[in-house]
Amino acid sequence: MSYYFAIIGTKDNPLFEYEFGTSKQGGDGQPRFSEHARHFNQFIIHSSIDIVEEVQWTNGQLYLKGIDKVFNNYISCFMTGGNVKFLLLHLPPHTGSSPAAPSSAAAAAQAAASNRSSTSIGANPGSAQTDEAVKNFMTEVYDNYVKAIMSPFYKVNMEIKSPVFRQRVAAAGRKYL
């Protein structure tokens, strides 16, 4: 399971981005995007802003849940009061990429591994637990985001460069996802 998180400002400008992997069930927290996909993530995230802009006026909640799916990428959105968007792209681990030879030991081990991970939040992007985990992650990031904008030197739509903020986001990712 790999995640790509981005904060998008009010003028659709990126303020912050961060890539990470799952830390649940023995995950090492490293993203597993292919080099090709990494560059697409930004496009996918930005293309879903159109949908966000439709959803935001029908739902007054801050957390707008999963809003989009592009191929196997699931996109969840959280909208702050100031119309800044937190977008999280999640890519479930590859399943069924090599379904051949179920008799070999390696395949059995792999099947066991995927079986175990099929109950994890990462493998079920549509499940209620995943939804809840993403919500908790977003809420924690929101908390830190509000602290960031409380700085008198921060102006709207400025890039967030603070290493402390990055650490906090990483910690929230480890904790919930």
């Binding site: 009010t10 981005e17 961060y18 890539e19 990470f20 992997g21 927290g29 490293q30 993203p31 935001q56 006026w57 029908t58 007054g60 909640q61 801050l62 909208m79 702050t80 009061g81 100031g82 119309n83 929101y142 908390d143 830190n144 985001y145 509000v146 602290k147 960031a148 904008i149 409380m150 700085s151 102006k155 709207v156 603070s162 290493p163 402390v164 903020f165 990055r166 650490q167 906090r168 990483a170």
Partner: protein, 218 residues
């Protein structure tokens, strides 16, 4: 793309200097929820505000320009307060304002309560059929004007333009772009109960009303 690397070495501790506080406590270590009783001294606010007004008054071309500058001082505060007040709401009632009325109620109740410790006195919609985009938030005696006496030749001036700027910031932040101005309506007559009565005139941009109509239909 170096900033994308997920495991960037943390540079918070080792490099001391102006950028990193020596005790390691940054703005991220402070809680967002202030205790309810934490109030500021009005005297110190009045002193600060008088300095802000005289700062804005430097090389000013006229009263409108001065009000514009005060408005600009308030604007970023409004933008930030919007998110701060939202996060302080209990999670159940946390919601972004989706229409003009909820937004104005948020300003009248939450914003005023936070800034001045009480609600605004009244909220009105313009009765003029020509000006359906205008709303009025009325404060009988604005706290910011408590110690301000406006000279006669500047009778047009209302320093609550600063508060108008905060309101404008909240509206703009919530994607309801508006122009907000402060007007003194209290008369100087003997019998006037509220001589400092101020109307904050909120004039929304046409696209806000257009969207409002579309959402209403859906």
């Amino acid at each position: 793309m170096a900033h994308l690397a997920p495991n960037k070495p943390s540079s918070g501790k080792e490099s001391a200097g102006l950028r990193y506080p020596t005790n390691g406590k940054t703005i991220y270590h402070r809680p967002l929820n202030r205790s309810k009783t934490a109030e500021l001294s009005q005297a110190s606010f009045a002193y600060l505000f008088s300095e802000m007004v005289s700062y804005a008054q430097r090389k000013v071309t006229g009263i409108q320009d001065l009000e514009k500058r005060l408005n600009n001082q308030g604007h970023p505060i409004g933008l930030k307060l919007l998110d701060l007040l939202l996060i302080r709401e209990p999670p159940r009632s946390q919601a972004r304002p989706l229409n003009i009325i909820t937004l104005l109620h948020f300003i009248k109740i939450n914003l005023w309560q936070h800034l001045f410790g009480r609600q605004a006195d009244r909220l009105e919609k313009s009765s003029d059929p020509e000006a359906q985009d205008e709303y009025m938030i009325i404060d009988n005696e604005p706290l910011v004007n408590a110690f301000i006496s406006v000279p006669k030749e500047m009778s047009q001036l209302n320093c609550a333009a600063f508060v108008a700027g905060i309101i404008e910031g909240v509206c703009d932040g919530a994607a309801f772009p508006a122009r907000v101005t402060a007007h003194t309506v209290g008369t100087k007559d003997e019998g006037e109960m509220w001589p400092g009565k101020t109307v904050f005139l909120v004039k929304f941009q046409p696209e806000v009303l257009e969207r409002e109509a579309l959402i209403g239909k859906a």
